[in-house]
Each structure stands twice: as structure tokens, then as C-alpha cells.
């Protein structure tokens, strides 16, 4: 997978913190953040996942001129979509070597990891796929290591 350049911006951190309902000034107020133990604005701990914004190929963002699988005139913009409910997020792990700050320009590289299967009563055959992502800063230093696990279900998860 190609490397992605992820410029970390203060406004993006502010919007992300708002979306998770976190009013901590360390995520939006530079003056207040200066007096905290972080010494300035930092990103919330799950922010690294927002690298999706900078992935030109990201499949969960509509792109001009390409068919989108969500609804428009009909329930899906793609005909003959397979019955699969698509992928769900099963696990996410972050290891912080330091916390990222506005002004960091991260280079992000994801590599596929293990693949395994499991039978489930609620959703049929489950296929798990691991992805390991490294975030390096403008000096080449490793800042964050992330490990995500996605799961594809045979059918929608039974809510019973």
C-alpha cells in the first residue's frame, strides 16, 4: 500500500474532538493547552484513524465520477451488490511513542497482517483481517503504531 502524507492541523483536531464530545481545551485552545502537562495542543488518542481523510484511494468516501454504494434515487447506487453486509471494525489498538501535534506532517504506511476465520452464531462465518499501520513524523521518527482488525460477516449481525 502506498504511503500517505497526513498533515496534522489544529482545525482538524478541534473538529475531531467535537465529534467525540470532548471539550478538553488541550484539543482546541492553544493558550490553555500551553499550561497543561502536554505543553500545547495535542490530538485525541483515536485521532490517528482520521488519516482516512488523506488516503486518495479511501473506499468509504464518495468520489466525483464514481458510483457510490449508498442510497440516492434507489437504496444503493450500485446494482447487483452482493448480499454481504460488508466489513465491520472488530479491534483497534494504538501504541503512542509520542502524542501528535498540529504542524506534524506524518507519513503513514499500512501493511496487511494475519487473516483468520471464526464461526459465529450471530453472523455466520467471520473473516478477520489485521492491518498494521506506522505513523512517522517529519524527522522519520516513529510516532504511533496502530493495529486494526476488520471483520467481514457472512450475514448481518443478529441483534437478538
Amino acid at each position: 500500500m502506498a504511503k500517505i502524507t497526513f498533515p496534522v492541523e489544529a482545525s482538524h483536531i478541534m473538529m475531531f474532538a467535537r465529534a467525540v464530545g470532548d471539550t478538553n481545551p488541550v484539543y482546541h485552545d492553544a493558550a490553555a493547552a500551553k499550561d497543561t502537562e502536554a505543553g500545547g495542543i495535542i490530538a485525541p488518542p483515536s485521532f490517528p484513524q482520521a488519516v482516512a481523510q488523506f488516503d486518495p484511494e479511501y473506499h468509504l468516501r464518495p468520489k466525483p465520477g464514481q458510483k457510490w454504494f449508498g442510497s440516492a434515487k434507489g437504496p444503493s447506487g450500485i446494482e447487483g451488490k452482493p448480499a454481504s453486509s460488508g466489513g465491520l471494525h472488530a479491534e483497534q489498538h494504538f501504541e503512542y511513542h509520542r502524542h501528535i501535534r498540529p504542524g506534524d506532517v506524518l507519513t503513514v504506511e499500512t501493511k496487511p497482517g494475519k487473516v483468520w476465520e471464526k464461526e459465529s452464531k450471530r453472523a455466520g462465518k467471520l473473516t478477520f483481517r489485521e492491518r498494521v499501520t506506522e505513523y512517522r513524523d517529519q524527522n522519520g521518527e516513529l510516532v504511533i503504531t496502530a493495529r486494526g482488525v476488520g471483520v467481514t460477516t457472512e450475514r448481518p449481525v443478529d441483534q437478538g
Binding site: 502537562e37 502536554a38 483515536s46 484513524q49 488523506f54 453486509s85 489498538h93
Partner: protein, 140 residues
């Protein structure tokens, strides 16, 4: 403020209500901020008619973010060294979530003190939606 090893003991807990009556709009807000526009989270027509779910549901990463808010309120800013979760049940519009951290270990490594925490986020029915763990640097 960072936690202090001398003031902590195994079994200590910290909990917070991290969202009350989760709105579809907050889920859309998370889609916009994170860049994950999967229609399962914002498109009721697609999600009910094509994907076969009773309604849209929250991104797992939104629930991780909500859990992270409780966590950083407890351990302080910029002190986390590890944070990991498993998504054990889906989170739906209207859910109210409580997140809890429980001290599992207090240890020292190379002169630095750390706390290891077990994390759990549950919904209004007591069903766990996220289970996880975290490690943070703490003061002596």
C-alpha cells in the same frame, strides 16, 4: 494532572457517562471529522434496505473516541502509551454509554511509573459495547 503511583491501588475505578441519547447528527459529525463515510453510519435507506440492519449505527471508532475521552480525563493529557479496544456490540442512535477504567497494575520500568487499566463501555441495558486496555505514564 497525571495520576500518582502513591495514590493509586489495584481495583481503583473511574467512570463517566460519555454520551447520552446518541444522536444521528453526532454520528454524521464523526463521519465528517474522521473521513469514514460508510453509509452504514448515516444512510438509513441503504442500511435498512440493502445492508439489512434495523437502523444506522455508530462507527466503532466513535465509541473508541468516547471511551478515550473518559480515559484521558482520568490519566491526564499526553500520558497514554497504549490504548486498545475490541468492539463487542454495535452502538445505535439513542444509546447512552458509560465508560469505566479499572486499575489492573501499577508498575515501574526504567525509572518511569506506569498504570495498566482495563476499560469497559456499556450501554443503557448494561451490554458491553467496547472492552479494552490502556497504559499511561504516571508520577511516582
Amino acid at each position: 494532572m497525571a495520576l500518582k503511583a502513591s495514590a493509586l491501588k489495584v481495583g481503583d475505578t473511574h467512570s463517566e457517562r460519555v454520551v447520552e441519547n446518541l444522536s444521528r447528527t453526532q454520528i454524521v459529525q464523526y463521519a465528517g471529522a474522521s473521513g469514514d463515510y460508510n453509509p452504514l453510519h448515516s444512510d438509513e435507506v441503504y442500511t435498512t434496505q440493502v445492508a439489512g440492519y434495523p437502523s444506522v449505527f455508530a462507527h466503532g471508532m466513535l465509541t473508541m473516541g468516547l471511551t478515550g475521552k473518559m480515559l484521558t480525563n482520568y490519566v491526564g493529557d499526553g500520558t497514554l502509551t497504549k490504548f486498545g479496544v475490541r468492539f463487542t456490540n454495535q452502538v445505535w442512535p439513542g444509546d447512552t454509554l458509560d465508560s469505566k477504567a479499572t486499575v489492573e497494575a501499577i508498575r515501574e520500568e526504567g525509572g518511569q511509573h506506569f498504570v495498566d487499566l482495563a476499560l469497559s463501555t456499556t450501554n443503557q441495558d448494561g451490554k458491553e459495547v467496547v472492552s479494552g486496555s490502556a497504559t499511561a505514564r504516571i508520577d511516582p
